[in-house]
């Protein structure tokens, strides 16, 4: 019998991963896999551990339990040198850009090329201009990072993240702080990178509306756990009240807005902790 669907090996797989900062458990026994060459969105409220999730993939944090697999190999059990070669295949857009403040826009984008290749400077020049053009900032090449707005900085960071043509790109909140035009530009770019170059993309965001239009697969997280996943239509039609609340942006619902604490009354001294 021939299998009609060859099941692709997931490029990222979490196998019962837990992670804590001190005593606070941020990720609780999460097992998921992300399909290759697709765009996956990870939704979740502020502080649910989305950035932490990406850091686990990049091997910057190690799970306290379980394994994070990248292309079949456990990131958290790798030798140092293997981890670095794995990272060369990843690009990451940091939530706040994380541009090198002592370098110009051009040099920021050129940085990974200069560190990892021996290309002649003419070629680096062209590559950097192409990457900057892709994010609409070719004209800003000579600016210093201090002269950029937040949204521009994010786009430069994106150009830098794709400089080495990675196989996997992780976007941490790519749309926050962008105007509607820049949002569409970035959304289009994410789609283009994915379809033209077959780059696997992971999008971590709470910007549901824009993301649902471009992604292939969604994972919804709350309280460090995966509360649902599926295609954008499935998510839209979900009956799970937690997911509905998140998609619709309702304040009241099962997902708590507040950081864990004593009850409000106790904190204000009206009642005593029982």
């Amino acid at each position: 019998m021939v299998k009609s669907t060859t099941k692709a090996i997931p490029i990222i797989e979490f196998s019962s991963v837990s992670f804590s900062y001190g005593d606070r458990r941020i990720i609780k026994d999460v097992s998921i896999s992300l399909p290759p060459k697709k765009i996956t969105a990870i939704f979740g409220g502020s502080g649910t551990g989305k950035t932490t999730f990406l850091r686990l993939v990049g091997g910057q944090l190690n799970p306290s339990k379980g394994d994070v697999f990248f292309d079949g190999k456990s990131i958290n059990r790798m030798k140092y040198s293997d981890l670095y070669s794995a990272r060369r295949r990843m690009g990451m857009l940091f939530q706040f850009g994380a541009l090198f403040t002592d370098l110009s826009v051009f040099d920021n984008v050129a940085f990974p090329l200069r560190e990892h290749t021996n290309l002649p400077s003419r070629l680096i020049d062209d590559l950097v201009k192409m990457k900057l053009h892709a994010v609409g900032l070719r004209g800003a090449a000579s600016l210093k990072t201090a002269e950029l707005s937040g949204g521009m900085a994010r786009r430069v960071a994106l150009a830098r993240a794709i400089a080495l043509d990675p196989e996997l790109i992780m976007y941490d909140e790519p749309f926050t702080g962008l105007d509607p035009i820049a949002t569409s530009v970035i959304a289009n770019l994410i789609q283009k990178l994915n379809s033209a170059l077959g780059i696997t993309s992971v999008l971590v965001t709470h910007d549901v509306e824009v993301s649902l239009k471009i992604v292939d697969h969604c994972i919804v997280m709350a309280g460090g756990e995966v509360i649902g996943q599926g295609s954008p239509e499935e998510i839209r039609k979900s009956h799970n009240p937690q997911i509905r609340q998140f998609i619709k942006g309702e304040i009241d619902g099962p997902v708590p807005l507040h950081y864990p604490s004593e009850t409000y009354e106790v904190d204000l001294g009206i009642k005593h902790a029982g």
């Binding site: 706040f96 541009l99 990974p112 960071a157």
Partner: protein, 265 residues
């Protein structure tokens, strides 16, 4: 209650001791890590040159000006004292020995710590708190090898050079005030200095001192930067700690080194 206060004091001493020991251990591990990643620094001289510029050249002005003033003061004070014993020409020797043995290495290191050391801490601390170091890691570039180690070696080579320049400027200052202004015999000033300053015993020992100080200041500055709490406040605290700890380390090391070098033990 008194017993309670006593206990609190005890706990505080314990905590300071444990923190101190922890820091020494972590600092040692850190610096070994830094040095073990030296290959890139020496394969790419550009990185090293940039850091020598950053730590050395930018400290030049303060070193030159301070050296000159210290020399002027030494000349004045030395002349006033030596005159009473009728040996004013020995002022050249006094100025030169004070500078190459002690003041050159020590004061240059103190100035280096407050000018270049604090800048190194701030730079690393800011790169840490704005996730630039994380970003570098994610680009598969080792931030130790790319950023920290070149800074270490840059400072390492700058420090003895700065100390030498400081001493040279001091001697010029001493010459200006005693020979040019006061009118001590210039020939005697130089010849006495030449006769009494020993290359091995004085100049080399001074250079060794500044190498040790440079090592200490670099280690402290870079470790504080790397270890800081990644916020604006954390960085500013780390910079303060760098200056204070470096000053203490320089003075304490100077005592130890002097005891070994110049007492004929």
């Amino acid at each position: 209650m008194r017993a309670n206060a006593f206990l609190k004091g005890f706990v505080a001493i314990g905590r300071i001791t444990v923190d101190g020991v922890w820091k020494i251990g972590a600092g040692t591990k850190f610096i070994l890590n830094v040095i073990s990643r030296s290959r890139m620094t020496f394969q790419r001289p550009r990185l090293l040159i940039d850091e020598i510029f950053f730590t050395g050249t930018l400290s030049l002005i303060i070193i030159i000006v301070s050296g000159l003033f210290v020399g002027l003061v030494l000349g004045l004070q030395g002349y006033e004292t030596l005159k009473r014993y009728g040996s004013a020409e020995a002022v050249g020797t006094l100025v030169a020995l004070s500078l190459v043995r002690e003041l050159g290495p020590v004061v240059a290191a103190l100035l280096f710590a407050s000018r270049a050391g604090s800048a190194m801490t701030a730079k690393i601390g800011i790169m840490k708190s704005t996730e630039q170091l994380s970003a570098m890691q994610m680009m598969a570039v080792d931030p130790y090898a790319r950023v920290v180690t070149p800074m270490f070696w840059g400072g390492f080579f700058s420090m003895p050079l700065l100390a030498a320049i400081f001493s040279a400027m001091g001697i010029i200052g001493g010459y200006l005030i005693t020979v040019v202004v006061i009118g001590v015999d210039g020939g005697a000033f130089w010849s006495q200095m030449q006769a009494n300053v020993d290359f091995h015993g004085d100049i080399l020992n001074g250079i060794y001192k500044s190498i040790v100080f440079g090592f200490a200041v670099n280690t402290i500055s870079l470790f504080e930067g790397f270890d800081c709490v990644p916020t604006a406040e954390g960085v500013s605290r780390a910079v303060t700690r760098t200056v204070v700890t470096s000053a203490l380390a320089i003075l304490a090391l100077d005592f130890v080194l002097t005891a070994f070098m110049f007492t004929g033990v």
